[in-house]
Symmetry: C2
Subunit: 344 residues, 2 copies
């Protein structure tokens, strides 16, 4: 059997079985945004997350800059710590790259990493470099910390909880669509009006330079507001599916309440895409998707977190059953698959 | 300028400048076998190390098995923790691999990782997987811990210290030479006598399945015996050069005291190689190279550590000056370069 038959999630399931369930120091191994490890300090845990960026899969060199790529490589990991409610701390970067790559490219990559590190107040402490014959691969591992009693796992959602999301998921996918259309010569910036151009610039940056929601995640944890949380990296539906799977619950999402931003709508019109598809299926937004008791309103949350928060539905009893209510009021099951490696 | 002009060590120097020197929690960033981080627990530090294994550079699929490759990927990181005197704890594994790779290959890889993890009592807690179009890349990050007062850095060597090494460095390089000669059809196992075949099997395993010296490293640290330590990954001369650079000292190595094992000598005879070259220049032995006050003898150390330890020379005043005394008594400077990526 080939990996392409098993699929990425099949592989991860098999690897997860090896994960250190028998080790009392491991509070949570594979299966959440970060591993959660006893730090040795009573009441504090260590968070560990790692992400691999592969050229041609996660990025293309002609549709981003090395600086933005460096920022994003770290941001994806920072977002994992945010999704546990933790504070990021130190990280390592390993890089496999062709020997004929320019030093300027690699230095810009590290400049971008360092910029993002300064913003998040985290420190580069190690790494490895190696030559490769072909594809550039970047591997980042980030450590964080969190008070043990404040960690927010994927498994805490309870029937009746409200489902919230920060920002406007789908914008990153729209940004990717714009970048791709431009690279293929299917979209000329000169053909756009001023307002549309500004909208598209914003979407492009949402894809190329996403903002990890560290302060929001930390506040949701320290106030004990969220019962379960994940970051939107594979798409809202897929990531909500993971909360449901781990929580043994279902969900009903109100399509009409999904935050479809003006830029997202404009890009979808121009590129003949469905904003609802992008909002539910688009990945790499690095927004926070969380559940909370129903008495917390979206306005109060937005005010407290300092970023837009939208109520998008409720957790139900239906074991893994993810449903969406169309704007017309019709309810249908929602396929909870995100981007999957190995499958074609 | 291309990376191939700058070289790996030039790149690492540039990256090291970005390393978190201003962060008071970072005791040691880039520049030792592990990063050393304040753990939050008084008197204890966190160790962080990461290694990248790239197909075609660090391994070839036709000269190893996925199980041995998995064991070695983790062993290389365990060895870094051993070289600080620490205890390994938890690790992550990321894998970029072609979708048409067999599931059996990937499962064997993880079986090997898990076997080695069980032996070292460490736990897999996370990772990432991605499809790649070409080269397989494995990225392992390992965390360990150590009492703060016991950490052994590269910078502690003082003039007059003795230089010791465990095991028989060069055996891994001999093993690689055997594996390569066999793969190229230049060496047939059937042409070997029984004894030679056993010797060659041992060398092959020293290359394909190296043993991290965790217990020895821990004892050297807890007894405060070693003043500086590194693991032999890039070659004895290159790695000793790193101790000298960080310690601001020189060294005189007695070639006649280098432990050239019977198998190493046999392989060098068969393959027309110089055992001294392999002992000084061969990489990936994952033996411990350390300095210690002169009153500790090699016999007492061997007994205490439970593995062979050889006295090979002394630390001198000569700032970075690495000299070797030939068996004939002639002293010459030694080029301290190991394997370097990007250079051709």
């Amino acid at each position: 059997m080939k990996l392409s038959d098993l699929g990425e999630f099949g592989l991860i399931d098999r690897i997860a079985k090896l994960s250190g369930a028998a080790d009392p120091r491991v509070i949570c191994g594979i299966g959440d945004d970060c591993a959660v490890i006893e730090s040795g300090t009573p009441g504090k845990v260590l968070l560990v997350t790692t992400d691999l960026l592969v050229e041609g899969i996660h990025f293309r060199r002609h549709t981003t800059t090395p600086r933005l790529l460096g920022r994003k490589a770290l941001a994806a990991n920072l977002s994992d710590v945010a999704a546990m409610g933790g504070s990021p701390h130190v990280f390592t970067v390993s890089l496999a790259v062709r020997p004929n790559m320019s030093v300027a490219w690699v230095e810009s990559l590290y400049d971008g990493i360092e910029e993002r590190a300064d913003e998040a107040e985290v420190s580069l402490v190690g790494g490895d470099t190696a030559a490769t014959s072909d594809t550039t691969v970047i591997s980042v591992t980030l450590l964080g910390e969190c008070p043990k009693a404040e960690v927010i796992y994927r498994h805490g959602a309870r029937p009746g909880d409200s489902i919230y999301v920060t920002g406007a998921p789908g914008e990153s996918a729209a940004g990717l669509a714009i970048v791709t259309a431009e690279a293929m010569g299917n979209l000329q910036a000169t053909a756009l009006g001023d307002e549309e151009r500004e909208d598209f610039d914003r979407l492009r940056l949402r894809h190329l330079d996403p903002e990890p929601r560290l302060q929001a995640g930390r506040m949701l944890a320290s106030r004990h507001w969220a019962t379960a949380m994940i970051d939107v990296s594979d798409g809202l539906a897929a990531d909500l599916g993971r909360i449901l799977e781990r929580s043994g619950a279902g969900a009903r999402v109100e399509a009409a309440r999904l935050p479809i931003s003006v830029p997202l709508r404009a890009a979808c019109e121009r590129l003949a895409l469905d904003p609802l598809d992008l909002a539910l299926g688009g990945g790499e937004d690095y927004e926070l998707l969380f559940t909370a008791p129903p008495d917390l309103g979206e306005e109060a949350l937005s005010r407290s977190l300092g970023i837009p928060v939208s109520w998008i539905g409720v957790i139900t009893e239906g074991l893994g059953d993810l449903r969406v209510v169309d704007p017309s009021g019709r309810e249908r099951p929602l396929e909870a698959r995100g981007f999957e490696h190995f499958h074609r």
